[in-house]
């Protein structure tokens, strides 16, 4: 009996690697610590530490005369944040982000719907690549491409001219708010470029949500006498909604924080990202810049909480 019992336990391994390996097997917590240690030090301490340090600075204020940071707890910076001019910037950014998200959903939905429901085999792979390549291609090159397109002497004006619709373009540009001297320095231009750059992020989540809609459900709806429009309205769309919300997290958040697109294509009025950039750079007011970054964090926090309640995270 004793001989059998003994043979269950192997002798200890020899060599450093063997001993280390045995040690990890007996102490799985040490192995876990070794695995998680480096990434946690990097992300948890370096990254989160920097974030907290930044947020902390929003509770300091800047001395108006010396321009130095006054390290005393105060809410003065937040009072400064809530002035009319800054609230304008916040409102402008949020409205733009909401419009971009809406337009992205409208453009992305047919692509996702076709890919999920009709594309098969080789076509499906092709569709996937056709979405992935623009999604991953260089951000700056995409913005640059639109600078070429929207320029006064560029392809868009040429094309509109060929269609004899220049009067329509001019009428649009003469409108208040959305208009401007040319498309590349108007909100319309900023809006188009935002939609172009962030829309691809919307397609894959919607496609994933649509692929989970069983075809039998759509069959059942039409068997029960639903027209295609009714089926879409009452069956397909509600089931795709978590996917749309999941995609909107990207389009909304990315538009909210961008400062390069409105700087290159847009009017001179600031967006949140530009305000942060200006405050920390030329103005040298780090506390106000930090307070400005709190705005997108709070908005995204609320947005994510709502999205989670709608089940959007299962669609990611």
């Amino acid at each position: 009996m004793t001989i059998v019992a003994e043979s269950f336990v192997l002798p200890e391994r020899r060599g450093t690697a063997g001993r280390v390996s045995d040690f990890f097997w007996r102490h799985p917590h040490v192995l876990l610590a070794v695995l998680l240690g480096p990434p946690l030090i990097w992300l948890g301490i370096v990254y989160l530490g920097s974030l907290f340090a930044l947020l902390l600075q929003s509770f300091f204020s800047i001395d108006e005369f010396s321009g130095l940071i006054n390290y005393e707890f105060t809410l003065a910076t937040y009072r400064q944040l809530l002035t009319d001019a800054n609230l304008d910037i916040i409102l402008r950014t949020v409205v733009m982000a909401a419009l971009v998200t809406l337009a992205s959903a409208v453009i992305a939905f047919p692509i996702a719907y076709f890919a999920a429901r009709y594309a098969r085999g080789k076509w499906k792979a092709l569709f996937y690549l056709a979405v992935m390549l623009p999604l991953w291609s260089s951000y700056l090159v995409k913005v640059y491409a639109w600078k070429l397109i929207l320029a006064k002497e560029g392809i868009l004006t040429w094309f509109v001219d060929k269609l004899n619709l220049l009067w329509l373009l001019d009428a649009w540009l003469s409108l208040p708010i959305v208009g401007g001297n040319s498309l590349s320095i108007s909100y319309t231009g900023t809006f188009i470029v935002f939609v172009y750059v962030w829309m691809p992020f919307m397609i894959l989540p919607i496609q994933a949500a649509l692929e989970r809609v069983p075809a039998t459900l759509i069959e059942a709806s039409s068997d029960l006498g639903g027209t295609p429009a009714q089926t879409f309205r009452h069956v397909t769309f509600p089931l795709a909604l978590p996917g749309i919300v999941a995609g909107s997290i990207f389009t909304f958040s990315l538009t909210l924080g961008d400062y390069i697109i409105p700087q290159i294509i847009g009017s001179s009025r600031l967006f949140i990202g530009q305000a942060v950039y200006a405050q920390q750079g030329t103005a040298g007011n780090i506390p106000l810049a930090a307070a400005f970054t709190v705005v997108p964090i709070v908005i995204m926090g609320a947005y994510l909480w709502m999205a989670k309640r709608m089940g959007a995270f299962d669609a990611l």
Binding site: R13, L36, W42, L43, A53, F114, Y118, P134, L140, S222
Partner: protein, 271 residues
């Protein structure tokens, strides 16, 4: 069974999907045309003539080469760091259970979920508090932070597909932990890591927002392009560089796609 009729896409849907895809691709194709235009002072369309002379001009520009070399160096080292950290994190999350596992996934995704300007300004103010001067390494540090998520997503998806019995079998046959890793786990996750690494490289190679905050006087290729965008001085050279960047970033994405296409996950879903 679906009827024959419902398997054919409605005409309107086809048009809308085709228009959407055209909207996504035509602007990028336009970049290729502009690389050959003879016009130097404006973005005139149609181009008055076509030429290949700008390729030689761009080839002879030391500032473009310096920016390209810096970008490649930063992307390589940031990718290497992200590969190690992302794999460690993925191994811990998928192979063990512990308190706060969900939080780790959130922490990894955070640098890419928050707008880049927040990550950038946070790192910049941390560098200034810690009195670290801007250098090559501060750029790498910023890039590696948001590259981890790409490697992590690819690795975690693959780890989930390795059955636990495979690892137990290896242990039962007498392999120690390192041998199991070398001969069982690594061959299984290899292509996922390669794909994740390629995507991380593409992400780092293209990054501009965080870089503007963590770079001192040095300029990576995206920073060089950004300066040209704000104040165009060398339009023809910029056109050529833009075309090269498009081609350079397409290659890793196609590569990553072919490496993971049989998998159950979407290689780039984490961007």
């Amino acid at each position: 069974m679906l009827s024959e009729k419902s398997n054919r896409a409605p005409f309107g849907l086809k048009i809308a999907a085709a228009a959407g895809l055209a909207f996504m691709h035509l602007p990028i194709l336009l970049i290729f045309l502009y690389a050959f235009t003879t016009e130097e002072k404006s973005y005139q369309f149609p181009p008055p003539g076509l030429t290949t002379q700008w390729f030689t001009t761009a080839w002879g520009r030391p500032d473009v080469w310096a920016a390209l070399t810096l970008s490649v160096k930063v992307a390589s080292i940031a990718t290497a760091a992200a590969l190690v950290l992302g794999t460690l994190c993925a191994a811990a999350v998928s192979q063990t259970r512990f308190f706060g596992r969900e939080t780790i996934s959130l922490l990894v995704i955070l640098p890419i979920a928050l707008p880049g300007i927040i990550t950038g300004i946070a790192l910049r103010s941390a560098f200034s508090i810690a009195e670290i001067p801007f250098s090559f390494w501060t750029i790498v540090l910023g890039h590696a932070t948001f590259c981890i998520v790409v490697v992590y997503n690819n690795a975690v998806a693959r780890f989930r597909r390795i059955s636990g019995s495979l690892i137990e079998a290896s242990m039962d046959l007498g392999a120690d932990g390192f041998q199991t890793f070398r001969y069982v786990i690594l061959p299984n996750i290899g292509t996922a890591l390669l794909a994740g690494g390629m995507l991380a490289f593409a992400l780092s190679f293209d990054e501009v927002i965080v870089t503007t905050f963590t770079a001192g006087q040095q300029s990576t290729l995206p920073i060089w392009m950004l300066e040209e965008l704000i104040r165009p001085r060398q339009r023809p050279v910029t056109n050529v560089v833009a075309m090269v960047v498009v081609i350079v970033t397409f290659l890793p994405i196609l590569g990553a796609y072919y490496l993971t296409r049989d998998g159950d996950q979407i290689a780039g879903a984490g961007k």
